[in-house]
């Protein structure tokens, strides 16, 4: 390319402009002299969490002048809408989605990649985050998301149920199981009449794939083998997990029927040990349930904890409005700076490390337990077929749970179905 020599005055003008632009970029607040854009923001935080998000957004608007038009839709519907709207250029400026959705949305061209220069310019660095959350935003080497928080599994222990079953100490505090044998033994002692000892999942425990994945990972197995080409569910480790899945209802008889509402059962004092998502605990407090939050017990080889971080993404637009994109970045930056508030009010632990040492956070026993699990966090594999694989897993594990199909046949059938998924 021919080298053009710029006139000195033009060069000086360009240098000046570059300096000015840099100054503007580094001091967003001072640039509030111009009108601030309104950006659209979609997420699935319905229910109680939504109100807290609203408060934080109001705070953000007061601080920066940027207004946000939120659309909140239950997650499953949100993803369908995103898939319909983005190609029609009706998508939002900012979307909060789950880590496991990134691969297929990215591969479908629904999400825009984030240049490394952009993320580091806005102050997002890998070392500030827990590795599993930071890695989750990548697909095929490109970054598509910045993590916010870490919904994860927890062991809820119903104090009253434990006491009634004789599983509490003299101080009234319930015993906490940490291994599979302890869980089974305690659960057997609890299960009596209409009360059950142990369950995994919020509703429909038979179909609770998130719990099944948690157990798979604890046993070193996974849905796909490392090359993402063949399913790993035919392996003996996976089979062991499937057998356990069926055994808790049919053999040990410590778990409720496949479609029981475990959350309600726990609230009503009919369930003693409950592995479920961390998002339940604020509701339990509202329902005034006497419970203790404990780490997920080690039911197999390793004490892995399932997580599904929320990630901020920029859905593709036909033409990117620079002001709106900057505003969206500003929001992600602001939320990351104020994520401790989100943690305290919504009970979702941050993906950033820094708030983990915030004394307000560590003062809460449940949050402390959640933080304590950080070393064992794992989340879904980064393949576009993950969600589809999960959807076809549900009826199969349910059949194992209710004893309709033996574990070995079910797992080999499921592996075959997963291998047959089109690309």
């Amino acid at each position: 390319m021919p080298h053009r020599k710029l006139s000195s005055s033009r060069r000086r003008f360009l240098e000046g402009a570059a300096l000015g632009a840099t100054a503007l970029a580094l001091s967003p607040r001072r640039a509030s002299a111009q009108a601030k854009p309104t950006i659209t923001y979609w997420n699935g935080l319905t229910g109680a969490d939504g109100k807290i998000m609203d408060e934080l957004i109001d705070h953000f608007t007061r601080d920066t002048g940027i207004r946000m038009e939120q659309q909140r839709i239950v997650w499953a519907d949100l993803y369908a809408k995103l898939q319909v709207a983005v190609p029609a250029d009706e998508g939002p400026d900012l979307a909060l989605i789950h880590t496991v959705e990134i691969p297929h949305f990215a591969s479908d061209g629904i999400l825009e990649p984030m240049a490394d220069s952009a993320t580091s310019a806005k102050g997002f660095k890998a070392e500030d985050y827990l590795p599993s959350t930071w890695q989750g935003g990548l697909y095929q080497g490109k970054r598509y998301a910045v993590p916010l928080d870490v919904p994860q599994h927890l062991l809820y222990v119903n104090v009253k149920v434990m006491r009634d079953a004789g599983l509490a100490g003299t101080d009234g505090k319930p015993k906490i199981p940490t291994t599979r044998d302890e869980v089974l033994a305690m659960a057997k002692q609890i299960t009596k009449g209409d009360t059950f000892g142990f369950a995994i999942g919020t509703t429909n425990p038979g179909r609770y794939t998130w719990g099944f994945h948690n157990l798979l990972w604890q046993n070193g197995a996974n849905v796909y083998a490392a090359d993402f080409k063949r399913s790993g569910l035919g392996e003996p480790a996976a089979l062991e997990v499937a057998e356990f899945w069926g055994a808790i209802q049919n053999q040990h008889k410590i778990a409720p029927p496949a479609n029981a509402n475990c959350r309600d059962a726990f609230i009503a004092g009919k369930l003693g040990l409950w592995i479920a998502g961390s998002w339940n605990f604020t509701g339990l407090r509202e329902a005034k349930v006497d419970f203790v939050a404990a780490p997920v017990p080690r039911l197999f080889k390793q004490a892995v904890v399932w997580t599904m971080p929320h990630q901020y993404t920029f859905p593709k637009k036909k033409a990117v409005d620079a002001a709106k994109r900057d505003a969206a970045w500003a929001h992600v930056r602001w939320m990351s700076d104020h994520v401790a508030e989100w943690t305290l009010k919504a009970g979702q632990v941050s993906a950033l490390r820094k708030p983990h040492t915030d004394s307000r956070v560590t003062a809460d026993p449940v949050l402390r337990t959640l933080l304590g699990q950080a070393g064992q966090w794992q989340s879904g594999q980064a393949t576009p077929k993950w969600v589809a694989a999960e959807n076809i897993t549900r009826p199969v594990i349910e059949n194992v749970y209710i004893g309709q199909k033996p574990a070995a046949a079910a797992m080999s059938d499921l592996a075959r179905q997963i291998n047959a998924l089109p690309d």
Partner: protein, 295 residues
């Protein structure tokens, strides 16, 4: 002058009347339908602007799609199994209400009320009522000594629990239709039969049922068309479970189009297969019942 104008106007009149409705129907119904039909012969996906013609590949793939077969069987099972309860319960209630009971407005309103609730409300409420741990029905049955089962988690009873919920939901609607039909049957016929010594049961068989046949056809056709497209309450109550025991065609279609891979072309093919099935069933019904309507 007038007769000629009338004759010319007469030729166009039907089309003028049809025009507004047909425009609405053509633009917002026929056009999307035909586009759906076209898409069923392509590999269209939500989110992909380009789609290629693939001939009958989507339809051929359905031959291997065992989950589609299962859902078709489940849907047909649901349609047939639900026909008697959904059509008979409101009929019995209608006959009883017609016999001369007091408080008819209250009773009619009570049975109709469930129909005003949305499908999600109905599903959530019945999920709770039937919950095997904390549900009121479980509690009362257990107190009465009946062995507790989880109706919705047992493949042999799940579809019947769904039918029970649906009966509760839609009975009021069919009740209103039946009542209207019954009220149109002249009282004199019953009185004459009574004078001849025919009891209640006899007059039901010989007078009520035959004169109610036209209502039956209308209700039966509406019910069959609706049942083959059942989705909402099944999705909320069992999500197609346990396993795939209650998975319906529209659920399979919906998940294909809006979840797993957003395979819109495949989903369209499923819809058109369903259309052929419903059409066949409806034509059969018309054949069997239409011929007998004479009065």
């Amino acid at each position: 002058m007038k007769p000629r104008r009338a004759r010319r106007r007469g030729a166009f009149t039907p089309y003028l009347f049809l025009a507004p409705g047909l425009v609405l129907f053509a633009v917002f119904r026929v056009y999307p339908l035909l586009e759906g039909l076209w898409l069923s012969f392509t590999n269209a996906r939500l989110g992909r602007a380009q789609h290629a013609f693939v001939g009958s590949a989507n339809y051929v793939r359905l031959l291997d799609d065992t989950r589609f077969h299962v859902s078709l069987v489940n849907t047909a099972y649901y349609t047939i199994a639900s026909t008697v309860p959904i059509l008979a319960v409101p009929l019995v209630l209608a006959v009883a209400l017609n016999r001369g009971v007091a408080l008819r407005t209250f009773l009619r309103g009570a049975f109709f009320f469930p129909f005003t609730l949305s499908v999600v409300t109905v599903g959530l409420t019945w999920l709770w009522l039937l919950d095997p741990v904390i549900g009121p029905s479980t509690y009362y049955l257990r107190a009465a000594g009946v062995p507790v089962r989880s109706w919705l988690a047992d493949p042999s009873t799940a579809m019947w629990a769904i039918i029970l919920t649906t009966v509760w939901w839609v009975t009021g609607y069919y009740l209103v239709i039946y009542l209207a039909g019954l009220q149109d049957i002249p009282r004199e016929l019953y009185e004459a039969a009574a004078i001849d010594g025919a009891g209640g049961w006899r007059s039901f068989w010989s007078i009520t049922l035959p004169l109610l046949r036209p209502v039956f056809l209308f209700v039966l056709v509406t019910h069959v068309i609706g049942s083959f497209q059942i989705f909402g309450q099944v999705f909320v109550l069992t999500n197609g479970g346990p396993g795939d025991a209650t998975r319906t065609v529209v659920q399979h279609l919906y998940e294909t189009a809006f979840q797993n891979f957003f395979h819109f072309g495949s989903a369209s093919a499923m819809a058109w297969v369903l259309f052929v099935v419903i059409l066949a069933f409806s034509l059969l019904q018309f054949r069997l019942l239409r011929g007998h309507t004479q009065y």
